[in-house]
Subunit: 334 residues, 2 copies
């Protein structure tokens, strides 16, 4: 097979079949993989969740992950937020002519490994190849279908005064890692993405802790943007405390140098969870025992006042509105 992807690999003929069989079948093989136009699958029962996400991150490889791992985590985590066990996934690639076949292999291998961790099956795919300059490297769109756990209903609308606001780990690592990987600032720091699939820890949480109100992935726009969204959807105020927000030294150092707010930097393996305050300690205990969520912490609570706003209390005790996110958020991270 060629060392790089050619236009012929995307034309639907012999070379496309070869690419699918040598790269994608190799990594995604399962009983549902088919040469027909769609996969035929056993239907889930009850309620399903469905979501889609496009990934155009540049660079495609970064410390702690690559666009393949990211594309599976993103969709797995979106399903997870609805309390849905990820069952089936599809992936559609748009690849630039000349993209290294070895890199495509690494991307597919990362997708395979991440999908296996949560037991989701990649049931269908699509490959298009765009001419040089028509697309920057490799874009991946993943779509997932999951089965919602019996009796579980989560939504930003369910945030209620008295809820504890929990983050499942330290924040801002993915955004910082991408920023450093771009090498535009000449900063060297050891920051790896937090990119991880969170179905297993959240499944444990939902099994052991009753009455979880909100689970939301803090990706584009970070924790700050997500909290603003929830505050507006539920018509509540959200008060958080700066000193309780877990941030690694690496992220603190980089964001300090560049004057960035970690609350607006993307996470790809860190979620925001709202539970009634009386269940907060149990939730933290459960999460801290699971892979990817050892660093879970309560960072604040929901209040009836200041509807639609996020209030932050500084280390010195001053309380201020967190500025509302808007305009272009840097860096592009997914």
């Amino acid at each position: 097979m060629n060392d790089t992807v050619t236009l012929a690999h995307g034309a639907g003929g012999k070379q496309t079949a070869e690419l699918i069989s040598r790269v994608f079948k190799e990594h995604f093989n399962n009983p549902y993989f088919t040469a027909d136009d769609a996969s035929v699958l056993p239907a889930p029962t009850g309620k399903i969740a469905m979501t889609t996400d496009g990934f155009i991150v540049s660079p495609a490889f970064f410390p702690g992950g690559n666009i393949g791992k990211l594309s599976v985590c993103g969709t797995v985590n979106d399903l997870t937020c609805m309390g849905a066990k990820p069952l089936y996934m599809t992936c559609a690639f748009v690849i630039e002519e000349g993209f290294a076949m070895a890199d495509l292999e690494k991307i597919a291998a990362a997708m395979e490994e991440t999908a296996k961790e949560v037991g989701v099956v990649i049931v269908a795919g699509d490959t298009k190849v765009a001419g040089r300059g028509q697309v920057d490297g490799c874009f991946i769109t993943t779509t997932g279908v999951g089965q919602v756990m019996d009796g579980i209903q989560t939504s930003g609308r369910f945030a209620a005064p008295g809820d504890a606001v929990i983050v499942t780990g330290d924040i801002g690592r993915h955004g910082t890692a991408i920023l450093l990987a771009r090498d535009e600032y000449g900063i060297e720091a050891d920051v790896k993405t937090d990119c991880a699939p969170l179905w297993n820890p959240i499944h444990a949480l939902l099994t052991e802790v009753p009455d979880v109100h909100v689970i939301r992935d803090a990706t584009r726009g970070g924790v700050g943007t997500v909290l603003y969204e929830i505050a507006k959807e539920a018509g509540v105020g959200i008060a958080i405390e700066r000193e309780k927000i877990p941030v690694t030294e690496g992220v603190l150092g980089v964001t300090g140098m560049l004057g960035l707010e970690p609350l607006y930097l993307a996470c790809e393996g860190t979620m925001v969870v709202f539970v009634p305050m009386e269940h907060a300690q149990k939730a933290i205990d459960v999460l801290r025992q699971q892979a990817h969520t050892h660093g879970a912490a309560v960072i604040g609570q929901v209040q009836a006042e200041n509807k639609g706003r996020v209030i932050i209390q500084t280390q010195l005790g001053a309380r201020t509105f967190l500025p509302e996110p808007g305009n272009e958020l840097l860096p592009r991270i997914c």
Copy 2:
């Protein structure tokens, strides 16, 4: 709102919310549209079909359609091929900074109209904006879930000697329309894409004609490529007759001038259907009564000899192997 799409529209903050609410909600609104990470939907029963397709066609607007219509038809038709009623769809956009908002509106409107024709609901979406030059215009990835009709099982593997080979309409129009829209050859001809959603006619076919073996969308690579795929999957030969293949005068003229084979030009609203010869007339009668499939015709039959090959009989009665498709197929059409 701005006249063009900006990077801020893809950053996940205020402007993204504005774009979603003014363009996408406007056209895709339905009870399942949500601000949460995934849509929660009633599960289908029995068997589901799932498929995904990326669309990077250039230009995005062409005679008879645009990339939005195409992206819904592609996924609807893939589900249709498995005898699955299209239920839920997602769409993920990657848009180049500077793309005209008015064009995005037209694309969304076409998606809405096409989805309505078959009753499929767009339940989730994603929007990313790439910098100028990182992507060419607008890419759309659609994914669909459908419910397979009770008792229906179709596959390329089921092609059997004695089957009639039917096309649901004239061939090669989409590929020709895109080719002309590129304006690289200076040819003027009145050829419109055949792009259409075929669930309704195929549903009628499957309801009224027993024992349909194969339904396959003749998109990338056209009817010729699809017939080769089926011949290999089922281990049969497929004999077709040139004079029975419906091709419009416009397509014949253009392909004649450029030396192209209509059998290798893409269709986006024309399928290949295999039924036992005794049901062929009934199938043709049913299809000809339906929108989009008035031009259905039997073009050949399956035979036990020449396994894995496609044989074509010319107007003069000569029989020859259809050359096997490979390499880059022109033009890129989806």
